[in-house]
Point group: none
Chain length 187, copies 4
Amino acid sequence: MPEHRRGPVRSEAARLAILEATARLFEERGYDQLTMEGIAAEAHVGKQTIYRWWPSKSAIVADCLVEGLLLSEYLSPPDTGDLRTDLVTWMRGILGFLENGGASLVRSLVAAAIDQPAIGARLEETMGVNDLLRARLESAVAAGQFSASRPTQAFGQAFVGAIVLHALVATPAEPDAAERLVDAVLG
Amino acid sequence: MPEHRRGPVRSEAARLAILEATARLFEERGYDQLTMEGIAAEAHVGKQTIYRWWPSKSAIVADCLVEGLLLSEYLSPPDTGDLRTDLVTWMRGILGFLENGGASLVRSLVAAAIDQPAIGARLEETMGVNDLLRARLESAVAAGQFSASRPTQAFGQAFVGAIVLHALVATPAEPDAAERLVDAVLG
Amino acid sequence: MPEHRRGPVRSEAARLAILEATARLFEERGYDQLTMEGIAAEAHVGKQTIYRWWPSKSAIVADCLVEGLLLSEYLSPPDTGDLRTDLVTWMRGILGFLENGGASLVRSLVAAAIDQPAIGARLEETMGVNDLLRARLESAVAAGQFSASRPTQAFGQAFVGAIVLHALVATPAEPDAAERLVDAVLG
Amino acid sequence: MPEHRRGPVRSEAARLAILEATARLFEERGYDQLTMEGIAAEAHVGKQTIYRWWPSKSAIVADCLVEGLLLSEYLSPPDTGDLRTDLVTWMRGILGFLENGGASLVRSLVAAAIDQPAIGARLEETMGVNDLLRARLESAVAAGQFSASRPTQAFGQAFVGAIVLHALVATPAEPDAAERLVDAVLG
DNA sequence: GCTTAATCGAGACGGTACGTCAGGTCTTGCG
DNA sequence: CGCAAGACCTGACGTACCGTCTCGATTAAGC
């Protein structure tokens, strides 16, 4: 029989205020302008309340991702029946997002991922690899446009990796970058 | 006729001491344990001498990469005549390097790249995309193993991106990760 | 009903440690060898704790004076009934103190007074003008040795000023300097 | 036969430029805003040229005083025949000068005097003690207004000391401060 | 209802590193 | 060889945050 704790439970209001303040500041200023003191002030919360529940700022950012506060998840590949066209459309959308301010957000997420591998994993997922892209690929396999023997996860990693690299290098994408990347990988 | 500057010129000794100290500390402790004060102390140099010539620590790290002080460039793909085998061998080497401490170094370089796009570009290059991998791919085209129409640069970006992602996510590679990645991309 | 402040209160231990460290270093090394970093180290205190409560090192020195940590207040004129003799004795004591290392302490205090007028005022007081010397003069007025019409404060300022000047100029006092000064002022 | 030095001699232009720049900056900003680098820049002179000839900034300030670049020497006591009236007039002039910005200049000079006793001596002189005041006192002795037995130098020190103290404490002088000081000292 | 204990906002604490400023010395090329 | 210029090493400056600790108030479960 478990020992019941006495006293008040964790304040959901504080938890949410912290996550929202973090998301807000993260998008405004980026990962390394993000400070624990800044979050505490923005959320009207004591620093100790943060440290009681999270060990580091990257952990908070990870939670923001998990709660869907950070990357809008509109980034799923369409399914018109033609795999190559769909992948190109999808990549164009992502590259467009990167060019319009998205790059710095992704860079910041990468920065957060550096000392919080879970963020990297979540980033991979969020950008479509595990679920959305896989679903699209399986649809393509069914349509005979994609060999069932090609490993879908690694395939997705190559795409997301290229995107991340693109965000890091920060060179403006050439007009046909989407096509070229899809062609390079799709064969 | 050029205006001659008067006064002392930049001290090459100081410049080298700083770069070497940076490389040393970077490999020992990683990017964010790297501090300007630490570099100054390790190089027996005044902080001002650093700030006179570099605006930020990421800029120094970038210079280290450019001077070849940071990533040994042994990472070129072999050429046995069989492209798939060679790429798998190459990837295995890299993944092995990541598993044995290399991952944190790459993570640190990514951290450095975040506010210094030139580092990202140099990182891309250093890890073989532009020259070494391209050469191998052209050899494969000549051998009829690779379609001349597939864009080699984007192809390389997919590889390097996957590697970077792998280093970020930091999950131990599965035994056949190299094969799967090559198969995914090569088709 | 007073508003209660929440949170920790100022640490008296830190406050005292800082003042004592300051007094110690001030006497050892003088005002301009005194550094904020030195005080922080000597007091085992963070620099911010100093800057939180004092705006400048002269303000700390002023507080040291106020707390009586700096000038031993043994410098009161005796009262044997003969004003001139007493003043000479008193001046001799002070000049002797100046010759034996006291001059540099007074010089340092003057340095501190330069950007902290309160120190000057306190210095004036401490050296006896306002209270001790005035009491002695009143006693002399009662004894008919001093005209009640002579302003005692200005009288004291002349004495202390001469002492300060003496400490600044740093010429070794001639044997009869005390007598001459008293005679000059007393008339 | 003396060895003749070879090479150019000390540049009088540089020497003057340095002294003038020092006087200019000193009056504009005060002693501790005065920096060697600032002087060098203002005088269009290399720092080494300063260090070659002066050991410290207070030494330069001392030279400025000696060259008469700093304190206008208009501060001599008048001689109407009535000593007390003359001293009061003289003190009033000085106190007025202190109130109108002179105090900070005197404070700065005192700061300079702290590590350059010669400045203190020169300051004492400049403010009239040794020559001008003594001459006036001797005239008073001749007129039977001042006892020949009172030591004139110590008398002057009391005056100048009170002035210095006044500049340090920085309290606005009361209207009758001049009278009171003269009466206190004169008896 | 009272006790007890964990929560909360606030913020002081000892520290580390920051990026800047000035100090005093050393080096370079010109006159 | 003096000079203007300026790079060098050093060390203190005042600031920003770190992560921990302390305060008084609040809140909820157990008695």
